[in-house]
C-alpha cells in the first residue's frame, strides 16, 4: 500500500461525492459530470494506492526461498536435522548460527565449521552503531525497525522476562506471509539478528510458531 496516494484518492473521492450532491441539488449537470470525472480518477487511484507494492518484492521473495532451500539442505547434510538458531553480536554485525540446541559456540566462523557440534554460520551486517548501543529505547527501536523499516507486520509485541524474550509479530504483511514458514524463515533470521544487535547479547531461539498471519518467537539470552 502507498499511504500518500491512498489518502489523496480518499480526499478526491470525498470531494467528488460532495460535488455530485451539490450539482444534483442545484440542477447543474456540468458539476455532476466534473464530480463523476474526479470520482473515476479517484477510484482508480484508490485501487492502485491500496494494492501498490514495491516492484522488486516478488523477485526478493523468490530469491529468499531459493537461498533458504540451499541453507536448509546444507544444514541437513551436516546432520543438523533438529537444529536451532543462534545470534551472536560482534561489532556492527551479527553472526547467525544454525546448529544443535543448547551448545556453547566459541567464535563461529562463516560458512561451515565444527565446534561442540557442526554448524552453518553467516554474518548479517548492519549500518549504524555497534551492537547494544541503542540504549534505553532498545525494544521500541527494535519494534520500529521491524514494522517501519522492514514492514514485516503491523504490530510487534516484545516481552522480556529475565533471560527470556517473547516476540510476537501480529498481522503479518501479505507479501511476507510465504516467508514465515520454518525452517530458516528470513523473518526469524532478521528479527533474531536485529534483537541480538539491539540487546547486545547472544541469543538462542528456543521456540518458533508460525500461524496464519502471526509469528511467535521465543528466545533466551545466553
Amino acid at each position: 500500500m502507498d499511504a500518500r496516494i491512498t489518502i489523496l484518492a480518499a480526499n478526491l473521492l470525498l470531494a467528488s461525492v460532495i460535488l455530485v450532491l451539490v450539482g444534483y441539488f442545484t440542477g447543474s449537470y456540468s458539476v455532476v459530470g466534473a464530480a463523476a470525472s474526479i470520482g473515476t480518477v479517484a477510484a482508480a487511484l484508490l485501487t492502485i494506492g491500496l494494492s501498490y507494492r514495491e516492484p522488486s518484492i516478488n523477485l526478493m521473495v523468490k530469491y529468499c526461498e531459493v537461498s533458504r532451500t540451499v541453507l536448509a539442505k546444507l544444514a541437513e547434510d551436516m546432520g543438523l536435522t533438529s537444529h536451532t538458531l543462534y545470534a551472536i553480536p560482534e561489532g556492527k554485525a551479527v553472526t547467525i548460527v544454525v546448529s544443535k540446541p543448547n551448545i556453547t559456540l566459541e567464535n563461529p566462523k562463516p560458512l561451515i565449521g565444527i565446534g561442540e557440534a557442526p554448524y552453518v554460520a553467516f554474518k548479517v551486517g548492519f549500518e549504524g552503531g555497534e551492537a547494544g548501543e541503542v540504549g534505553e529505547n532498545t525494544i521500541d527501536a527494535f519494534k520500529a525497525k521491524m514494522t517501519d523499516t522492514y514492514g514485516v507486520s503491523r504490530n510487534v509485541e516484545v516481552k522480556v522476562e529475565g533471560e527470556e524474550c517473547n516476540v510476537v509479530f501480529e498481522d503479518i504483511n501479505e507479501t511476507v506471509k510465504p516467508l514465515i514458514r520454518k525452517p530458516l524463515s528470513p523473518v526469524t533470521v532478521v528479527a533474531l539478528a536485529e534483537l541480538a544487535k539491539a540487546l547486545g547479547r547472544k541469543l538462542q531461539l528456543v521456540h518458533e510458531r508460525a500461524e496464519d498471519n502471526t509469528l511467535e518467537l521465543k528466545v533466551v539470552l545466553v
Partner: protein, 95 residues
C-alpha cells in the same frame, strides 16, 4: 520518479484538463465526463506502466470494471443513434 507517482500526475492532469474543457463548453452529459476520465486512466497506465507496481488481481478487477462501464456508455450512445425507439422502450418502465 516512481511509476505510481508518474501515473498520479499524468492521470490527474489529463482528467483535469479535459474535464475543465468540457465544463467550459457547457457539456452536461455525465457519461461523457466519466468516459473521458476512464480514457485518461488507460492512457496514463499505457504511458507509465504502473501495472507492474500493483497487485495483479486488484488491477485486473479495476480494468474489467472500467472497460465494462466504458462499453456500456458507448453501447448506450450507439443505440441512442441507431435504435432510439428500442432504447426508449427499454428505459420506459412497463414499456
Amino acid at each position: 520518479m516512481r511509476r505510481i507517482e508518474a501515473y498520479t500526475l499524468l492521470a490527474t492532469s489529463i482528467a483535469a484538463a479535459i474535464t475543465a474543457s468540457l465544463a467550459l463548453i457547457g457539456e452536461s452529459r455525465v457519461d461523457v465526463y466519466v468516459s473521458v476520465a476512464i480514457l485518461s486512466h488507460f492512457i496514463s497506465v499505457a504511458l507509465t506502466g504502473v501495472e507492474v507496481e500493483v497487485k495483479r488481481k486488484a488491477f485486473t478487477t479495476l480494468t474489467i470494471v472500467y472497460i465494462a462501464v466504458f462499453s456500456a456508455i458507448v453501447a448506450f450512445r450507439v443505440m441512442e443513434i441507431l435504435y432510439p425507439e428500442l432504447l426508449e422502450k427499454i428505459l420506459t418502465p412497463g414499456g
